[in-house]
Symmetry: C2
Subunit: 246 residues, 2 copies
Amino acid sequence: MRTFKLILQYDGSRYRGWQRLPDCDRTIQGRLEQTLTKLLGEPVELSGSGRTDAGVHAMGQAASFRSRTALSASEILQGLRQHLPEDIGVLSVTEMPERFHARLHAVGKVYRYRIWNSEAPCVFERKYVYQLPQPLDLAAMEKAAGFLTGTHDFRSFCAKKSDKKSTVRTVEEIRIERAGEEVRLSFRGNGFLYQMVRILTGTLIEVGLHRRRPEEMPALLEAEDRALAGWTVPAKGLCLMEVLYE
Amino acid sequence: MRTFKLILQYDGSRYRGWQRLPDCDRTIQGRLEQTLTKLLGEPVELSGSGRTDAGVHAMGQAASFRSRTALSASEILQGLRQHLPEDIGVLSVTEMPERFHARLHAVGKVYRYRIWNSEAPCVFERKYVYQLPQPLDLAAMEKAAGFLTGTHDFRSFCAKKSDKKSTVRTVEEIRIERAGEEVRLSFRGNGFLYQMVRILTGTLIEVGLHRRRPEEMPALLEAEDRALAGWTVPAKGLCLMEVLYE
């Protein structure tokens, strides 16, 4: 058996998320598995580094699969590019040591949330940003982000649906920057709970709007109660930028 | 009567172009006139600086209209932003001297054509670029562009459909630049014939692919024969960037 790693981009707008669903080819995993199975002439099971929700995008999702194919990595790349729809792009296909697994071996992820922070409309990037015209206090958001960085139990920032046993995660960095009309929040960490980035962003936005104080963050973490954290911002502003491996 | 000037952005993907068509609200002009007429409570006729074809985008289209409205420019701006679809954006509304006319008073235009010049897929900007993986010789394209700049009869670069009497135009500048995976061609001139920018771009691409020599350009202009120039590149890579006024 040979093992291959894919680096993928996708526009999540018209998909029901990463994870394969029965009788539905509107999932990223389903669409890729279909194409790989046709290309390689054998059933292929693709392991993503993790799921992304409906409407979430990726600039650098990683996935792996095993196959008995005789095709080279570059032939697989060409074949996938020919047959995938234009909202799923393959950046690279690499042959890996046989035991490589995109989820089990991932040591971290980088997500970015894009806020179009202007009264002017955002016509061309409208599917990739969350439009919020009210001014944001970035200094307050950065202060709050400081409290959230580090190793914590993030149960307060996790949607109920999560079945993860431990809700302790390490967020190594939260970077907040303004670029023109845009405010971008980047999160780097060893793993993120279900909807955690979107709830962290919603909470930081509430701080930026002066509806919460940065100093409330430690108590919020300690409470371990989802109801106390901010709202879940829309999926379309979120993008999985990179999956980190050793 | 009062006269207002609009600066507009639009994603042309799902429209049949700028110009109003009978019984069709899939035109930019039609959609804007509909919205203005409702907002101002009187029939409004909107004059664009010029037409854009089906699928062509705008970052800075200009248009004007006359009205007896008592609303301020800023109230019109807010009203339009509330009621227009998300693929048409209004950047500004300004009250002008009564005789101002967006087409008659325009002295120039800037268009940009975007080529995604890479084997890697372009997932997120796919509706705004023309994907061409073959390498382009930019130096040759720049040389050819030099021959095309200036005041010429551009009949060879005009689709037959044009009913313009004179086909003489001045192209003040053709700028060609690489930005990452992209090659961008910017055209500034006093006016452009029907499909002229797309035929100029197609011809310059043929030079970039070494299918034509830059030195053929003067003869091409002199021939005044559309059949001798290059192909018409797809609309989706084209964007009207700015309309120039005195």
